[in-house]
Each structure stands twice: as C-alpha cells, then as structure tokens.
C-alpha cells in the first residue's frame, strides 16, 4: 500500500457570520490521500468540500484539527500544493507560455530550463501551438488547460482541484475529464479533486469521499475498483453504474436533509 501524502486529522471549520451567528461548516474530518492517488470529495453544494480543499491549500486556516503534507504541518499556501480553481484564473497579461512559466520563474529556475518545462506541460494539456496566445483568445476549456499546465509546471507534491470543470459545458467537461486522466497516466500526480458531479467523481477517482450536508463530515468512503487507464466506455459499465447508484442515494439523502432543515441545497439561507 502506498504511503499517505496529505493527512487531515479531525479538521474542523467554524465561521462567524456578520450577524455573529456561528456556522459549523466542516466537523472533525479525517482522511488521508495516498501517494499517486486520485481522491475525490463529492457532496451537495454548501457541504464544505471546497472549504476543506482551501484549508489543504493553506488559503484558509482550520479552527480545529491538523493538516499535514508529507508529515509537515500546513500553515499557509505554498508551491508544494498546486491548485486549480473553478473560475478561469490564467493571468490575462501573460501569454500561455508565460503563464505556465510563472511558478518556475518565481522559484528562480533559469529561462532556458523553465521554457522547456513549460513547453512540455503545454504539450501535455494539448495546447501546443498556442504558446504565444493571450488568455482572452482562449475558450473556457482551454483556459482551464492553461491553469492545469501552470500548476503542474511547478511540480507540486499534490494537485488540488476545486470543481475545475464546473463552469464548462457538458461536452467540454467530458473532454477535460479524459484529459485529466491522460495527464494522470503520464505524471501519476497525487490529486485531491472536489466536485458535486457524481459521474465525474467516479470516473476520475481511486477513492470517493461522500460528504454529508452541513456540517460537512465524511459520510462514506468508497473505493473505485475500475481499472486504469480508464476510457469513456467505463461510464456505461455495470460496476460504474452500481457505484453511481449508491453515491446517488447517499447524496440524495443529504440534499433532502438540507431541504428539510429549511436550507436550500446551495447553502445560502432561503430568501424571505
């Protein structure tokens, strides 16, 4: 068995709203992402899955518990944890090539070397030929490819992905999922992926963590025994369907619970 890369131990997050109301977003979540594994957090909107990811990135400080990467405590953001956001985040004043070189450049990698590294990852995400193009000329899917290449060019220990394909249309989303599988096959990068798309979770993941509605807890851990490399045919296979049925049921329970508590599934209070 592979060793643990990212470790979350009883991680808790409590927010205080402007009106002084206490909100328990994440409660005592513990799990470990193993080396070279794709772990997926799946849950209804507002369940705290993105909050967990942001805490792993060091962008948010948990109010309780501990997060470690390779045994070292996470205290803030760093180049060892690359992140891809749902929003399109390429730097629009930099070309594709310069975007991908951003991390290595900050690290002080010499120009020749970082240019070669950038070209490699631009090729890996299928953007060869677009090196000198500015982001405004790219589609949403292509901008996310830039963001993925930029994160990988930094050679992080783990890649954190926060619903990276959530803003894309359904067709492009599938293309990007296949792209990510291809990238994983070539790099075997450890990935922690957050989504509310059940198909996406099972298609990509080695392990799927189904979360409860707020406060977010791990409701069930599911191993995905589908063989790799995976192709689109997996999506219609019987083992996939069986897993999907189970996850669907679990998520539905949580969504209904959230609604019963008078809270719409997107986590915001209902308008009066």
């Amino acid at each position: 068995m592979d060793s643990a890369k990212l470790n979350l131990h009883r991680v808790t997050m409590r927010f205080t709203t402007r009106r002084g109301q206490q909100i328990l977003a994440v409660e005592e979540v513990s799990f470990a992402v193993r080396d070279h594994e794709v772990a997926v957090l799946v849950g209804t909107s507002g369940c705290g899955k993105s909050t967990l990811l942001r805490m792993a990135a060091g962008l948010l400080r948990p109010t309780g518990g501990e997060i470690t990467l390779d045994g070292r405590a996470v205290t803030g953001p760093g180049a060892d944890r690359g992140m891809v956001f749902q929003t399109y985040t390429p730097f629009h004043w930099l070309t594709v090539q310069q975007n991908v070189e951003f991390g290595p450049r900050i690290k002080g990698v010499p120009p020749g070397e970082r240019s070669a590294v950038a070209r490699h990852f631009i090729g890996l995400v299928g953007l060869t030929g677009f090196e000198r193009v500015y982001p405004k000329e790219l589609s949403g899917g292509m901008q996310q490819r830039v963001a993925i290449a930029r994160a990988l060019a930094n050679d992080p220990e783990i890649l954190l992905m926060d619903e990276p394909f959530g803003a894309l249309d359904a067709q492009t989303r599938v293309i990007m999922q296949e792209l990510l599988l291809k990238v994983w096959e070539e790099s075997h990068k450890t990935i922690l992926f957050v989504t509310h798309d059940i198909d996406e979770a099972i298609f990509l993941g080695d392990r799927v963590y189904v979360m409860t509605a707020r406060p977010g807890r791990i409701k069930k851990v599911m191993d995905v025994p589908l063989p790799r490399p995976r192709t689109l045919e997996v999506l219609t296979s019987e083992p996939f369907m069986a897993l999907k049925r189970e996850v669907l049921g679990l998520i539905r329970e949580e969504t209904l619970k959230a609604i019963a508590e008078g809270r719409p599934a997107d986590g915001r209070p209902a308008p009066r």
């Binding site: 962008l59 953001p77 180049a79 944890r81 992140m83 956001f85 004043w93 930099l94 900050i106 690290k107």
Partner: protein, 265 residues
C-alpha cells in the same frame, strides 16, 4: 429599411446602414438648425454667429498664431496638472484598493474632498498658490486627483481574489503578488480611468483659466466675451472639444498598443 418594430426593440442590433443614417441625421440636423437660425436671421449674430463667421474667425486666429499660442498654453496646464495627479493617484489608488489599512487612512479624506466643487476652491487656490501657471495646474490637479484615487481604488479592489490566491499556490510571496499580479491586473482599468479623467480635466480648463490667466483657450473665450466676439467664443469652445476628442482617441489607441492582452480592447 427594416420594420420599425425591429429598430425599436430594446438592446437588439440594428443594420449598420440604419445606424449610420441616424448618426448622420443628428449631426446634419444640428448643423442645419444652426444655419437656419443664424443665416435666416432668426437669432441675432451677436448671440449666434453664422458658420461662415466662425470659420472666418478660426482662420484669422489660426493664421496669426493666436490659436496655437492659446492651445499650447492650455495643453501645458492640462498635461502638467493631469500628469502630476496621475503619477500620485494611480499608486495611491492601487494601495487603497488592495490594502485595508491604506483604505482606512485615505478614504475618509478623499471621499469627502472629491465632492467639493473645484470652482468653490478657487479663492483659496488664489490665496495659497497665487495667480500664475501653478494655480491653474492646481485646479486641474484637484479636479482629477481625488476622482482618480477613487476610481483606481475601485479597479484594484475588483481584481479577482482567485488570481491572488492562485499565485500564492504557485509559490508567490506578497511582493510578487503585488508587482506581478495586482499591478498588471489593474492596468486596463487604470487606462480607462486615465482616459475618463482626462476628459474631465478638459472641462476644468475654463475654470482654471478664470484665475487671471493671460493665455489659454479659456482665456480666449472669456476675453472674447468681454468684446462680444461671439464667433471667437465658438472657435474656443470647438477647439477645446476637438482637443478633448483627440486626447480621448490617443488614450484608446494607447490602450490597444500598450496592452494588447487587455480584455477591453
């Protein structure tokens, strides 16, 4: 000609030919109205000179060099005041929009002063700065600086936080984030702010030259009024309009040339 119903649908595109015709009608209509009123003798030329008179006055003022003298004098005032204001306001605005502490320090004063009418401050400016070039520059400066700070602060406050956070996850330190992310991300908005406030600077020109100027387009206009040379007043106003339009075009052109990546061009 498309049916009227299509032309009047809100926010729908209309054929280019219709658009151009409508624009031409406005311009031609305005000129025609001017011609009818002045040549037709409906309004005394003392109040509304004919296009011929204005043209003749323009040629006269241009040929003896007066127009150039006044225009350069005004340009010098505008550019000096505007550059001084911009050089200070842009960095300050970026700080105010990015750092809460800068906002807390600056916002109360700037937020108040920007509502003070510049014309009302002229007596103070005369008292403090005098009646020379510097006082005119001061008027332009006060008229643009505070607006620029607020507008640039807004631009930098609106830079997506995701852009900053993604740079931190790429290993950036706060100083990298400031210089390599925040500053470049604000540039298109800063360009727009400069273009807009440049337009405002032109509108302050006459106010500035009220302060005992002896050259400048504002002075030309005021002086012509004293002699009842209405045609010259028209020339002065038209030249200010044209110069304003020229600087506006220059800024748009500069935006495209300097920031080819900008989503706004």
């Amino acid at each position: 000609m498309p049916p009227l119903r299509e032309v009047l649908a809100p926010k729908e595109a209309i054929p280019r030919s219709v658009y151009l015709t409508a624009s031409t009608v406005t311009v031609a209509g305005t000129l025609l109205l001017w011609c009818v009123l002045s040549y037709g003798g409906l309004v005394l030329t003392l109040f509304l000179p004919t296009p011929t008179q204005v043209l003749r006055a323009a040629v006269e003022l241009a040929s003896d060099g007066t127009l150039l003298t006044h225009s350069t004098a005004s340009l010098a005032v505008i550019l000096t005041g505007f550059l001084l204001a911009s050089v200070l306001a842009v960095p300050l605005g970026i700080l105010v929009g990015s750092f809460k502490i800068a906002e807390a320090l600056v916002e109360p004063v700037v937020g108040f002063v920007r509502y003070l009418p510049v014309s009302a401050m002229i007596p103070l400016i005369i008292l403090w700065v005098g009646i020379d070039f510097e006082s005119r520059v001061t008027v332009i400066f006060i008229g643009t600086f505070f607006q620029q700070v607020i507008l640039v602060a807004d631009v930098s406050a609106n830079v997506s936080k995701d852009l900053l956070e993604v740079s931190y996850t790429l290993g950036a330190r706060p100083r990298h984030v400031l210089w390599r992310v925040l500053v470049p991300a604000t540039l298109p908005g800063v360009m727009d702010t400069l273009r807009i406030t440049m337009g405002w600077a032109w509108t302050y020109l006459v106010v500035a030259e009220l302060v005992a100027a002896n050259k400048g387009l504002g002075y030309l206009i005021l002086n012509s009024q004293r002699g009842l040379f209405t045609d010259r007043i028209f020339v002065g106003i038209l030249v200010i309009g044209l110069l304003g339009l020229a600087t506006e075009t220059l800024f748009k052109w500069g935006h495209r040339a300097l920031l080819p990546w900008s989503p706004r061009v």
